[in-house]
């Protein structure tokens, strides 16, 4: 196969890669938002339980969890599609990392902000949602961008549970014609071509933010 043919072959899987990325992102951001805020806001035992839940998703290996949920569900009559398993596992794993970023952003907001809110007679929750959270969310925008890159890369795992994404297509191409150097170079190229523009955009955003602050 010629190089363009290989590239076209791989790109047939682009739709699946994008779909898995989008579905995972639908899990990542709500997960990060809800659990990041909960871990910041709660105290005592409820907070401990939230931390344990987040740590479960952070401490496990994505590949083990992916196989676990894919094979273990059916044994207990829970039938999830490979898309659902992929989005759930990738989403909760990366979302757990995101929740930590949001929590630490909330923690770095100057205490004066909270005190000012209290002086104005706002309730604790109003201070959180009207004063602290908007500022924290601004701070985590670049991290959210990096998270999207992370999702794209992690989506390659779904090739192992039978979804025909670009990585799966590469294995298929290998069976059609044994040209590993061409096929896997093309595959690396596809991922870099997807992720590089995002990385550059984040970089530009961070730089603009720094320039504005200076």
């Amino acid at each position: 196969m010629s190089f363009p043919t290989i590239l076209l072959w791989l790109l047939q899987g682009l739709g699946v890669t994008m779909a898995v990325t989008a579905l995972s992102a639908l899990v990542v951001f709500p997960f990060a938002l809800v659990f990041g805020v909960l871990e910041y806001r709660l105290r005592g035992i409820p907070r401990f339980l939230v931390t344990v839940f987040i740590d479960f998703w952070r401490s496990s290996s994505v590949i083990i969890l992916l196989f676990f949920f894919f094979y273990v569900g059916p044994a207990f009559d829970v039938f999830l599609s490979a898309y659902a398993v992929g989005a759930l596992v990738i989403g909760c794993n990366i979302g757990a990392y995101g929740s930590q970023a949001l929590r630490s952003a909330l923690e770095t907001i100057p205490a004066g902000q909270k005190e000012a809110g209290r002086a104005l007679g706002l309730s604790r929750n109003r201070i959180l949602f009207l004063i602290e959270l908007p500022q924290a969310l601004r701070k985590v925008i670049p991290i959210a961008g990096n998270e999207v890159i992370e999702i794209v890369k992690t989506s390659a795992n779904v090739s192992l549970i039978g979804l025909a994404d670009v990585t799966f297509k590469a294995k298929e191409a290998m069976q059609a014609s044994h040209q590993p150097a061409e096929i896997y170079s093309a595959l690396l190229g596809v991922y870099i071509a997807i992720c590089l523009p995002m990385a550059l955009a984040i970089h530009a955003l961070v730089r603009r933010g720094q320039a504005r602050r200076a």
């Binding site: 401490s59 590949i63 083990i64 094979y71 044994a75 989506s155 192992l160 590469a170 170079s185 991922y191």
Partner: protein, 216 residues
């Protein structure tokens, strides 16, 4: 199908055996990653060409999936005349992948040592090598300890990928058992639990190191 408790317990010796391979590969990968990280960090501060090559290499690694890099080395190295066994390829991939991330950490660590430290050492008449090893390196280690420990934990979590190319580490052993018995639940549960135990222990150890070696 449910859960066969007896079968579950019978798997532990084999899974534990496999987990030793996981730990060994992760340890070897960590050493390799630190070496690659140092080379990249130094490469980015030498000549212009080496700077461009190191930066390009780092970005290419950071922007592509580990799984794809593993396949690449596993299938392409033999074409280039370098035939290595799966374990070696796996350790090599771990080293390169995490080395790219550590290179950035080490570079930032060197920059974080205040200029005045080097100037003061020079004023005291220390030689360049003494400045590097006695002044810059110890202070840099304090800065990089915490992020490096975090990458080591990620590296451990990435090690089960080596099963994909046939390394008999814990996930690989779990799959062997599963394909013998056609029961996936018990082997994957065992591997999952043991893995969680390891990563929790190592995570706590890292947190301890982080508290002990904090930047001054």
């Amino acid at each position: 199908m449910g859960f066969d408790t007896e079968y579950f317990w019978s798997l532990w010796p084999a899974i534990f055996q496999g987990s030793l391979m996981t730990l060994a590969a992760a340890a070897a990968g960590s050493v390799g990653a630190i070496l690659v990280g140092i080379i990249l960090a130094l490469g980015r501060r030498s000549g212009r060409l080496s700077k461009i090559i190191c930066a390009g290499f780092t970005e290419a690694i950071r922007l592509s999936p580990f799984l794809v890099q593993l396949y690449f080395l596993y299938y392409v190295l033999p074409v280039w005349g370098l035939t290595l066994d799966a374990v070696t390829v796996g350790i090599l991939t771990l080293s390169i992948h995490f080395g790219a991330f550590l290179g950035e950490v080490f570079g930032a660590g060197i920059d974080a040592v205040p200029r005045g430290q080097v100037e003061a050492a020079r004023a005291l008449g220390l030689r360049n090598r003494q400045i590097s090893f006695l002044i810059v390196l110890p202070q840099m280690l304090r800065f990089v300890a915490a992020p490096t420990a975090n990458y080591m934990i990620s590296l451990l979590k990435t090690t089960p990928y080596l099963a994909v190319v046939g390394v008999p580490e814990m996930l690989g052993v779990a799959f062997d058992k599963a394909s013998d018995s056609f029961r996936y639940v018990e082997p994957l549960t065992a591997a999952g639990i043991l893995f969680l135990v390891y990563s929790t222990i190592i995570g706590q150890a890292a947190r301890y190191v982080e508290r002990k070696i904090r930047p001054l």
